[in-house]
Symmetry: C2
Subunit: 425 residues, 2 copies
């Protein structure tokens, strides 16, 4: 039994166009069904993921066998692997989206004009969101749930490694949606792994409204380079923590260790530590990181702090290690720190540690990043930690949405104008 | 005396990159100078436009002479022409932007997390805005003022017809800005009319943050087709007015006449009239438009209403006349009207005339356009009429900003996170 649209014949562009048309039609139906029906659909999809667990795990076992045969790395196999516990977590995350406040229909502002016209801006779904992702099968469920939770239709294109897992997860979710009276095409999975289809998605301006790439840097870079559709993404998280002269030493050590080492592979991890030349406890700060097993690569003044610090090359300042490696520079005051961040940062998350409130406020005002922090670990850069309940990703572009993006970032608005017969003079 | 950066040598991409770099540096300075200094700069620029009036009018006379020699149409010459009154209006519009509420620094929302982190989203300028426009020299001043009023730097590229006028307006404004202590490069005019420079602006992703095209459909279409930088624009205003069965006949006539004929060349003008088959006064409605000198092109049922109505072709439903011509279709109820608009509309401005509140609310909810109106003329689609004080344009894209865009639409936001030493568990 297939719950999705039949696969159309023809070239990649025609296939994507047909899927997009079906998705847009489903999105229009969603709009008429209203938020409670969408929430019921999400809960039914979550239940179907649990009910269909054995089929999903069987499909995942196929992907794991194929992945091992293809010699995928242990890290990749771990990303791919599902077990009952992980699947339960995926289902819970889908149900949790149903519990989030619904942004659709929210009134942003309302004004009455002197001529009596009443204007309001009301949040509406963006439309059809394309998600292009790699080997993590949980993205199939997460992304679909966030799109549905904001009234959008989703067109999913997952990685080849997870093809069976993704199909099984998708089939279960769609069965749940249909049971709850939602259109099957609200969530579609691109039915072929032909790579040309990714190109067709990226150039489908006007029929796909936004693309969200989820995966490593090479995927995001390709999507950003080739897309004609607006892209919501971040390429790098070259995040700085600046320990100011007036930093509290205990906070500096705790924040630096957490920002770098709590999890080294996340986009919110610190990659460069800037230490003020007048900070009195710099030797203790770098020693704490070295003692915790972090490799440090420093400029000349940083290397003078501890013999274990390796000399940094020019390239280090522009590198996102995603590992227990950190570049360290000693800087002369706030302006030098701001200049370093402006030159080498990736506009993701940058932080200052200081007890000087005026310096903190200047840092918050002048650093041009999606997230700027004072006395906190950059690893808080996360939609869940920000209270958004989830996230489709973190955006470092300048338009539409910045930083962690969840339901609100998947909406746009329209102007409603209510009159009583007004004509323009 | 040149107040702008010297023209760099080299290919178009390098020239645009150098201008963009200078603009970005000036924008960073603007951020530090704060809103009052920007407002003072706008007022000084407005004064300088008046003080430099004779030089500007002389430059404009050169453009007019050249335009006449090149055989520009009367309409184009009128767009190009400046006189003391028009120049006074331009200066007043610049000064008026200084009187608008400043969006920069506005706190969008603020939350405190259970762990004590305080999060706020604060509006910040987008950065460097590129404006590509045609023969109207007033755009030089308008666009520069709106960019400055929202803390952005502007890179302007006007049409060849207005080259002398644009240079004179730009020089006067920059003199005013510099006098008020603002950086000269906050507003730059691309110093050559080489068409390749437009291409370089459109592909300068990462150094120009947004492009706003201002001009006719062919300019906007080219910009949308070639740009790698995000574009804020509308291509068409194929705006519908649906006269429902329960419309008040007096309102229907007044709104339809105003929406079509007040000014036929504006993007908010009605281009298609949809008349409900059950509306009892349809003959009077079309007669009022015909009597006012409007050409009507109708479907078979519309043609039956009045012998003066010409038969419409398929193409008419997708045509933005920008003239005293209107397509007219008779539709069977709200659903048919919604289907017609979904198929032929351009997501700009669509309106319903009805006394039935429930029908009006369905129309407002279901029409997917930047602006949806009830009992009002679509010619109200304008930033000034919406109370925004001005507009850089009307956007029909789905992301970032929709409908009339003024200062707020020229900003983005960043997240500020204020902690007391929190680390992530």
């Amino acid at each position: 039994m297939s719950l999705s649209a039949p696969v159309p014949e023809g070239d990649p562009d025609s296939l994507i166009a047909a899927l997009a048309q079906a998705g847009r039609a489903a999105q229009a139906q969603l709009a008429q069904l209203g938020p409670e029906r969408r929430k019921a659909g999400l809960r039914a999809a979550a239940k179907a993921l649990v009910a269909g667990g054995s089929a999903i795990l069987e499909a995942n076992a196929k992907d794991m066998t194929a992945g091992e045969a293809r010699g995928l790395s242990a890290a990749m196999l771990d990303r791919l692997r599902l077990d009952p516990e992980r699947l339960g977590g995926i289902a819970e995350a889908v149900a949790a989206v149903a519990g989030l406040p619904d942004p659709v229909g929210q009134v942003i502002d309302r004004t009455e004009r002197p001529n009596g016209l009443v204007l309001s801006r009301v949040r509406v779904p963006i439309g059809l969101i394309g998600i292009i992702y790699e080997s993590r099968p949980n993205v199939t469920a997460d992304a679909a749930a966030l799109c549905l939770g904001s009234g959008n239709a989703a067109l999913l294109r997952g990685g080849s490694e997870a093809v069976h897992s993704n199909r099984a997860i998708h089939a279960a979710m769609v069965a749940g949606l249909v049971e709850a009276g939602l259109p099957a095409n609200a969530v579609q999975l691109v039915p072929s792994q032909d790579r040309a289809l990714v190109g067709s998605m990226l150039t489908a301006a006007g029929v796909i409204d936004m693309i969200v790439p989820r995966g490593g840097k090479s995927l995001v870079a390709r999507v950003q380079a080739d897309a004609r559709v607006p892209v919501l993404a971040h390429l790098d998280g070259i995040n700085h923590t600046y320990v100011h002269a007036a930093a509290d030493p205990a906070k500096a050590v705790a924040i630096a260790r957490n920002a770098k080492l709590r999890r080294t592979g996340v986009c919110g991890a610190m990659e460069t530590l800037l230490i003020d030349a007048r900070y009195p406890e710099s030797a203790g700060l770098v020693a704490a990181l070295l003692d915790a097993g972090c490799e440090l690569r420093g400029d000349a003044r940083a290397c003078a702090l501890d013999r274990r610090i390796l000399p940094a090359t020019d390239q280090d300042w522009d590198t996102e290690y995603l590992d227990a490696i950190l570049s360290v520079a000693v800087v002369d005051g706030l302006d030098a720190a701001l200049a370093h961040i402006a030159r080498h940062g990736s506009h993701h998350t940058d932080a200052i540690v200081t007890e000087d409130q005026a310096v903190a406020e200047r840092f918050l005002a002048e650093v041009d990043s999606a997230i700027v922090m004072h006395n906190a670990s950059s690893q808080f850069a996360d939609g869940g930690e920000f209270g958004l309940g989830a996230e489709i990703g973190i955006a470092t572009g300048r338009l539409h949405a910045r930083g962690p993006v969840a339901l609100e970032g998947l909406t746009t608005y329209k102007w409603l104008v209510r009159g009583t017969g007004q004509v323009r003079p």
